[in-house]
Symmetry: none
Subunit: 406 residues, 2 copies
């Protein structure tokens, strides 16, 4: 973990290379009819073979029973205490699309959404309108003025997603989401989480004024006729720098803004990654000589799990498996494969269940794990462990840690 007090004394720069492949939403649960999870159902010859020559285990991202969002799930794998280093979605996504925030900005993640004639939400993603359409709408909303004490900006992210950024000296970020996350309800007013919080109260007024004007401008749209906000947050300050703490030169390869933002918050170098795993792997290959640690993010498994599509999640895992040889061809000294959390298709959501983990290096004890599945890995030599331990183990396997104490 990044707060081990002697980290600076024991970490050393070496020529060895670590690739950490984070398979978003990796873990699953058995289909009640077959009794097999997505990983158990999928044909994964490369990952299974890898598990056989690796240390295997399962990770708990935050605490047993706690379902992590993407932020805590990733921070834990990077070795940060995910409870202490909690960042909001607004700041993450903004940083992920290269918006400068700084100390006086508060950002929220925004979705275009569809309301019915009674103002009730019928689609939280506005039929996933394409980026061209969304960019035009964001441009229109860009004309909305803020208040005397706070400016407002909107920036497009991807498809139906954008961010709202407020800037001012007296803002608060402790605001509840306007997104009720359920269909059939009206969007909520922005309110302070704590009614006594005057900063958040004034910020909520600016937000609500913005939303009212936006609704007028969007009124005639058939799909994107309103917006939902969540994850009001500031850019974290004074967090430990990943590269300096571990004495690594880290490169982050992630197509999606949220994960780019998380990497940026830790101080990793963001590499241009394209928009899919194939372009991400091309980035890894092209930049392999330039860094000694790579965070490599695979998104499609989580998307399928969150949509409750068991068969598609199986397919996404098989597609990942088919690309594993491209990573192995680079012959990294340490290859870590794990996930930020589970996303069982039968739950159609993130979950708290332990996540498979493997660490391949020349320094593995191994324990006869034959498959890369939840149940097989739980019996591996790494057993059940906190995700916060993974980075230190990766450094150790890379020969990057000196002896602690005499």
């Amino acid at each position: 973990m990044i707060e081990f007090p002697y980290l600076n004394e024991i970490c050393m720069e070496t020529g060895s290379k670590i690739v950490m492949l984070v398979v978003d939403g990796l873990g699953g649960l058995p289909d009640p009819t077959t009794g097999k999870s997505e990983l158990e159902t999928a044909h994964l010859p490369n990952l299974d073979k890898l598990a056989q020559i690796s240390e295997a285990g399962v990770t708990t991202p935050v605490l047993p029973g706690i379902t992590p969002g993407s932020g805590p799930g990733h921070m834990a794998l990077f070795g940060y205490d995910p409870i202490k280093y909690l960042v909001g979605r607004g700041a993450c996504e903004s940083l992920g699309v290269d918006i400068q925030l700084g100390p006086n900005a508060v950002a929220a993640r925004a979705n275009f959404c569809t309301l019915d004639s009674e103002g009730k939400i019928i689609d939280r993603r506005a039929s996933r309108i394409d980026s061209d359409k969304a960019i035009a709408l964001v441009d229109m909303l860009g004309g909305i003025q803020g208040s005397a004490n706070a400016s407002v900006e909107v920036h497009h992210v991807q498809s139906y997603r954008f961010v709202l950024v407020l800037r001012g000296d007296d803002l608060g970020d402790s605001l509840a989401d306007t997104d009720p996350q359920t269909l059939g309800d009206q969007p909520l007013q922005a309110v302070p989480k704590n009614p006594q919080d005057g900063y958040a109260f004034r910020t909520a007024q600016v937000v609500n004024a913005f939303v009212n004007q936006a609704n007028e401008l969007l009124a005639n749209e058939d799909k994107a006729n309103s917006l939902l906000l969540r994850g009001f947050s500031r850019e974290p300050v004074d967090w430990p720098d990943f590269g300096k703490s571990y004495r690594l030169n880290p490169g982050a390869i992630a197509a999606y803004p949220m994960y780019r933002g998380l990497a940026k918050i830790t101080g990793m170098t963001l590499l241009e990654a394209g928009d899919n795993f194939d372009t991400e792997l091309q980035t890894l290959e092209d930049n392999y000589a330039n860094h000694d640690y790579f965070f490599l993010h695979y998104k499609p498994a989580d998307a399928a799990g969150e949509d409750g599509n068991f068969d598609l999640k199986v397919k996404r895992l098989e597609e990942l498996d088919s690309q594993i040889p491209r990573i192995l061809d680079l012959n990294p000294d340490v290859l870590v494969v794990s996930g930020d959390h589970s996303s069982p298709s039968i739950m159609a959501s993130h979950s708290w269940h332990p996540v498979p983990l493997l660490i391949k290096s020349q320094l593995s004890m191994r324990l006869g794990v034959d498959r890369f599945t939840e149940r097989a890995c739980s019996l591996g030599s790494l057993g059940y462990r906190s995700a916060i331990d993974v980075m230190i183990l990766a450094l150790a396997h890379g020969g990057k840690l000196k002896k602690f104490g005499a």
Copy 2:
């Protein structure tokens, strides 16, 4: 755990129901002649079948190697750090029989005992005299006056057990037990644990004066001719409320005062439970609609284990097993079965050994555990884990926890 700082944000009320069955002293150790533990010896068709469709594991109540009393064992299962939230036996038993304590009371658990002619203890439980006899003796002791600064009260609990309650503004509760817990020794004088503690010193004087007068009044009794005191303690203040913390409406079903007291300390609603497991189950059935969490306590396995009676503990476990269908017939969304600690018959005492645990819900990974035994469960999908994690896992399995972080 009840101290997870974001608990209030992630807990939500739902209609799902959790039943937590605490089998007191559940775990055991192998009989040296058969090599099988009590659970391995018993015929437990219902619990075994349950284990096969549940998540299974084993819990460490406090820390590896630490043998818990009933208090820490239960507090951990309720999600309270058992080291921080340590309560004395006197306060627990008093609260369990509905005695109001409040901030200025110090309570001790008392046993009638039998001394020989030299004043040495020959029976720590006075031949387990019945309640009628004990109530008469307690009434007699009720006539004893306290000091100018402290009143004394005695209240019968059950059989040979009662409580001594002192009330006053300058009392201390840091007193050593007068019960040496061995036969052949004389009862000890009450003394402060710390010789510098003036509050405890003055309280010890009141206690010793009471004991001297009690001994005079009991001198002609053939069985109950003296008393032993232990667990001097106050009622805890400012402890987290179980129901408010987890957003549950908890009902506690326990026949024995100690466990009723523990539940009361956490703020659970105490349900009238009768005096055996059959009446406890009747209470569960009658009140099932009224609560969303039930603490259900089964005592007989521990009593047999503590008596060193291997065969009787096997029988008590089989009796429990035969009642499991009554719980399953209620179809709780989450059923937790575990114990507060192990009580191996070959040790005739509590022990530190990990305690079997199962959690049944629709969201189980499962791991082919075929029996509800110490060894089988240790290979289950929950593995070895701290008992403090159990409540959060139960909430997660009940769908009562929102995602943590973006």
